[in-house]
Structures are given as C-alpha cells and as structure tokens.
C-alpha cells in the first residue's frame, strides 16, 4: 500500500505527471462541457435557475 502510494506520488510530482494529468482532465472536461451543452443540459440548468427553487429555499 505504502509502495503504491509512493509510486502514485512520484507519478504526480514528476515533470510529466505534474502537467500531463491535469491537462488531460481539462481536455476531457472541455469535451464534456461541449457535449453537455450541445445535448441541451445548459437549458435544464437555466430553466431551474431562473425560477425560484422551492426546494432550495425550504418550501417545496
């Protein structure tokens, strides 16, 4: 377990892992955002957000 933790730590902190891992996550995230936007998820968010959310304020 300790050995795997050290290995994970080494991967995260070497020059490649330091930037490659977050960069890969960012790319996947941007693809997700575009895909979600295209299939209309932003509309769902907007629809919920422009009306008073009765659950959020403790009524509904």
């Amino acid at each position: 377990m300790n050995c795997s933790n050290n290995l994970f730590s080494k991967i995260l902190n070497n020059n490649i892992g330091r930037y490659l891992i977050p960069a890969a996550v960012c790319i996947i995230a941007i693809v997700f955002i575009i895909f979600g936007f295209i299939r209309g998820e932003a509309g769902i968010v907007l629809k919920k957000a422009v009306n008073i959310c009765l659950e959020c304020i403790g009524i509904g």
């Binding site: 995260l12 891992i21 977050p22 941007i30 955002i33 769902i44 968010v45 304020i57």
Partner: protein, 302 residues
C-alpha cells in the same frame, strides 16, 4: 504571525469582492425577485444558491442535481465537465477564496467564543460524511427516486443545504407574502440546520466545508492533481510543525501539502519560518531561507 493576518485580510477581500460580484443583481434584493437572465446558463465555482435574489449564476450542486434528476438525462456532462475543469485548474482553492458560504463561515469564526475547538475525537471520521452526502443526496437520490413524470428532486438542496436557506430562503420569504403563507415544517427544519451550522461555525472553523459540503468533496479529489498545487521543499523544511499548528483545517502541510482537506488558504506558507512551502501553477524553489546552503544554490541559479 503578522504576515498570516495580512494574508487573511487579502483572502477575505478576495472572497468579499467575488461574493459581491456574483451576487450583484441588486434589484432582486429590493424587489424580492431573482435574476432570470441568460447568465444563469453558467455556474459559479462556489456554493451560491441560484435562488439568492442577487445571484447572477447557477449553483453547481443545484445544477448537477437538476440535470441528474431530469427525465431526459441521466448523466450531467455539462456540470461534471465544469467541475472537472475548475478542479483540474485549482482544486479546493475555490473553497478558500471563491465560495460565498465559505466567507460567511470565516466571518462567523471571527466571533469570540470561550473555547474554540480545533480537533475532537471523531473529526477525521466525520470528514467522510461529505463524500457520503455527495453520493447519496446529490447523485443517487435525485437520479433514482423520481416522481411519476420521471423527474427527481434536488434532495441535498431540499433537506440539507443551509446556503439555500440563508441566501435564498430567508430574504425571499421576508419579502414575499405569498411565500410566507406556504412555509411549513421543511422551512423550520432548514432553519434549524442553518442555526446549527452558524453556531458550529463560531466554535469550529468551517464545519460545513469539513463535514457536509458535497462541492468541497468534489474539488478535494482534484487537490493532489490540479495545476495549482502546494509544494514543500524538504531541504528547507526544518519540521518545526508551525504549519500544522496554524492550519485551521487540521492538516499537516509539511507532510502532505496537497491533502484533500486543504482549502489553499495560504496560512501555512505565511507562517513557515524558512519559506519551505510554496504554491502556484509552477512550483519554484523558495529563496527565503538564505541559511540553507542548498537553497542558496538553487536561488543562485534562478
């Protein structure tokens, strides 16, 4: 110590400015209405109820539950992508600097109290609660406990979120007589939760962030891998333990500077006598400790 206080002032200013900017729909506070413009397509990075009269953007946790609970979609690419992007860039820096509910807790903790609690038995175990809340109330219940039309309920917002009560529930109910006529047990329940969080925030630093916040739980996963990270120069660190003593989130920055619980407040950096703790998108070695030969060499090369 003075530097740490100065750091806190800077952080409080950033938090206050950000909270003011993202809640700048002043008409909403005057008329008891909420902003209905297209900016609400976008999420703010911190926990900020979209039913706050001043809110210009959407709350990512509320938005996540809305999409997961909607009939048409069973995965929220748009929101998950947003959270991944923010998390991969700066992790829980958001909690420390850009969360309005974090700011409220910070201010509450400044209220004097006879005995402030930093650590207690069961603290570490209780911190797992926020991951359970994320899984159960934000993901599983809205996704699977749907009504007859196939739509889920934002259970976290409905049953737990004190930010919604404080930022949306209280101002809207005060200003809207129709809402006043329909409040019931749920409103009382949420006021009790808010009251408990407010009281606990006075004696414990950021109890909501430590034990309950599902947004903090999400960002915490990105802390060890985000672009913005903390780094400890082991050659400069003298293991004095001042960083751990000073850390209000109860972590040990000299051992694990990118711990899941770190909200990037920066107190450890300011208190470190040798400047061994640095942060940024590109961790450069510290030049503060001129007594350490190794550090001198490094600094000379820069």
């Amino acid at each position: 110590m003075a530097k740490a206080k100065n750091n806190n002032k800077v952080r409080l200013s950033v938090q206050a400015v950000w909270a003011a900017v993202t809640n700048s729909y002043v008409i909403g506070f005057i008329q008891g209405k909420i902003y209905k413009g297209s900016l609400k397509n976008l999420c703010v990075p911190g926990l900020n109820c979209y039913s706050c009269p001043g809110a210009l953007g959407s709350c990512p946790i509320g938005a996540l539950q809305s999409v997961l609970g909607s009939r048409g979609f069973k995965f929220a690419f748009y929101i998950v992508g947003f959270l991944m992007l923010v998390g991969a860039i700066c992790g829980r820096f958001i909690c420390g600097f850009l969360c309005p509910f974090g700011l409220i807790q910070d201010l509450l903790h400044k209220i004097p109290f006879p005995k402030k609690i930093k650590m207690f038995k069961g603290d570490k175990l209780l911190r797992i609660l926020k991951y359970i809340i994320l899984l159960v109330f934000v993901i599983i219940l809205p996704m699977f406990f749907v009504d007859i039309s196939g739509n889920g309920t934002p259970y976290f917002c409905k049953l737990i979120c004190p930010a919604g009560t404080l930022e949306g529930g209280i101002p809207l109910v005060i200003m809207d007589k129709m809402l006043q006529s329909i409040i019931g047990f749920l409103y009382t329940w949420k006021l009790v939760i808010l009251g408990i969080i407010i009281f606990l925030s006075i004696i414990i630093y950021r109890p909501f962030c430590k034990y309950i916040c599902p947004l903090g739980a999400i960002y915490s996963i990105f802390n060890p891998i985000s672009f913005y990270r903390y780094k400890v120069d082991k050659n400069a660190c003298i293991n004095c333990g001042k960083c751990s003593e000073n850390c209000k989130m109860g972590i040990k920055p000299n051992i694990n500077p990118n711990a899941l619980e770190c909200i990037r407040c920066g107190d450890c950096k300011k208190i470190c006598p040798t400047g061994a703790i640095t942060s940024g998108f590109k961790n450069k070695p510290s030049c503060k400790n001129k007594d350490v030969k190794h550090e001198k060499d490094k600094c000379g090369k820069l």
